[in-house]
């Protein structure tokens, strides 16, 4: 006898509204249905009706935590349309701020992850250390979270005089702390019991489900946009791609811990080798982009982020499409939550598994789920979608 248990849209383990309909037999989960469409905000349409310079700030607000990745991706896209490239100093400064925001995102995730496991002390420690990163972001960019640092053709301000010394001090402190956290994660029985062997996703499954980012690297695949498609000085700054062969939630924790250490080293190298010269190109605020299309990829803290735009020669993009990492990873959650064969998934495993992908629902909810006038929700099939996209008649439900 099976029951259906809804988790969400509002639930203590979720930071954002997401609906998981779990079909359970006793404690075992046998089937899952995910609904991420509670936060549709119409941002893509909003980008189409704004001039490029205004769109920059809207794109930044797709996600609060990875705002730096979104604004960088937007800028790379528009620069590609304009046929321009940011000067070397700007690329290094972009890299520094991007890595800082990756550290802030990972520390936030680690804290929140242990919070979902019920380990509140570690949550407090991580968030206390994250404050150091936030202070650095505030010092360099002028704001704690929404940095508004990248702009079309470079960055908006140079590194302040006193920032370098402060940044190095903060990095030293964080490096020491990360060593300590590695020890804690390896040695705490509470963490090991809740994460090891939970949410197993083998390498082949991770690839076939199209996962990205730290989630994919925790399944032992060496994939990183910074390595495969260097976009902002990543071909000059050396770094290791952190992978782990554990394929479980423990591996996901380890990968993110390792990535924070890598980010620290990358920022140090970038500070040592910071090129001199201009930090932004002179581009008028209101401009027309030439006709064409562009696609940019950025390794956001959560994984590969893709922005695609079409310009018809006007002041606004004709079409703007965003593919966020959580959308790519949410399918693997459905897969991991189902019990199959000797793999048993219990209701208590839902928080570690869902939390393990670092879900960001406000990023994801951009897909149209039709809500008809009859207040009846339905999901379009592939054939329907094809008809819809080919501009034919409106599909009837």
């Amino acid at each position: 006898m099976s029951f259906e248990i809804p988790i969400g849209p509002q639930h203590p383990i979720h930071v954002e509204p997401i609906m998981l309909r779990l079909k359970v037999e006793g404690e075992l989960i046998v089937d899952v249905d995910v609904d991420v469409s509670y936060l549709h905000r119409g941002i893509e349409k909003g980008l189409e009706v704004r001039p490029y310079i205004q769109g920059l700030y809207l794109a930044e607000r797709i996600c609060g935590i990875c705002n730096c990745a979104h604004s960088l991706c937007y800028c790379l896209n528009v620069e590609q349309l304009l046929g321009k490239e940011a000067p070397p100093r700007a690329r290094y400064l972009r890299l520094i701020v991007e890595e800082l925001s990756r550290m802030h995102s990972h520390l936030l995730w680690l804290g929140h992850y242990f919070h979902t496991l019920g380990f509140e002390t570690l949550f407090m420690y991580f968030w206390r250390d994250r404050e150091r990163v936030m202070d650095m972001l505030e010092l360099i960019t002028g704001n704690r979270v929404t940095t508004a640092y990248n702009t079309i053709g470079g960055v908006r301000r140079d590194l302040p005089q006193e920032a370098e010394a402060k940044l190095r001090r903060a990095l030293d402190y964080l490096e020491e702390r990360m060593k300590y956290y590695e020890k804690v994660v390896d040695g705490e029985p509470t963490i090991l019991a809740r994460t090891q062997g939970v949410g197993v996703l083998k390498s082949s499954e991770a690839i076939s489900l199209g996962t990205v980012g730290p989630h994919l690297r925790a399944s032992g695949i060496r994939h990183d946009v910074r390595l495969d498609d260097p976009y902002s000085g990543h071909d000059e700054v050396p770094f290791n791609v952190v992978t782990h062969d554990g394929c479980d939630c423990y591996a996901r924790v380890k990968v993110r811990l390792g990535e924070v250490v890598e980010s620290i080293n990358m920022i140090r190298y970038a500070l040592d080798h910071l090129p001199s010269g201009e930090y932004r190109l002179k581009i008028p605020p209101l401009f027309k982009a030439p006709e064409g299309e562009s696609l940019a990829r950025v390794e956001a803290p959560r994984g590969e982020l893709v922005h695609y735009s079409i310009s018809n020669g006007g002041t606004n993009p004709y079409r703007y499409k965003v593919r966020t990492p959580t959308l790519a990873n949410i399918f693997s959650v459905v897969y991991m939550l189902k019990s199959r064969g000797d793999r048993e998934v219990y209701i208590a495993d839902v928080p570690p598994i869902l939390g393990g992908i670092d879900p960001c629902i406000c990023c994801t909810a951009r897909v149209l789920v039709t809500d008809e006038a009859r207040r009846k929700r339905r999901i379009l099939t592939l054939t329907d979608l094809r008809k819809y996209s080919q501009g034919g008649r409106r599909v009837r439900g």
Partner: protein, 116 residues
């Protein structure tokens, strides 16, 4: 099974540490470190403004209204809509707009959140 020894040591050490938080907003307000270059409330200098309206055209939040006064066109800043991106200050050709470090933009009346 490993013994969680180092975690207990850290927990004990934290008992004697100084508190990491600041008792804001009623006490220790002066302890808050606001860095140079923080983007806070907009300040506007009417003397410098030439009425080009560029700020209103780039504002992503539509927080800048253009009105007519005795000296010509001028912007009015609706702080309650402002997202503190600082794009208006960046494009201003005469630097009539600056972003101050004042960040406590809370008011009981809407008029207090309008910079003229």
């Amino acid at each position: 099974m490993k013994i969680p020894g180092y975690f207990i040591a850290e927990a004990l050490r934290n008992l004697f540490r100084k508190r990491a938080t600041i008792l804001y907003p009623y006490r220790e307000v002066d302890k808050i470190h606001v860095p140079e270059g923080l983007r806070g409330r907009i300040e506007f200098d009417r003397e410098k403004c030439i009425g080009c309206q560029l700020c209103s055209r780039v504002c992503p939040a539509k927080a800048i209204k253009v009105v007519q006064d005795e000296r010509g066109k001028r912007p009015v800043f609706l702080i309650y809509r402002c997202i503190y991106c600082g794009q208006c200050a960046e494009v201003c050709p005469t630097k009539a707009i600056t972003l101050s470090r004042f960040f406590e933009n809370v008011a009981l009346r809407k008029e207090d959140l309008i910079v003229r």
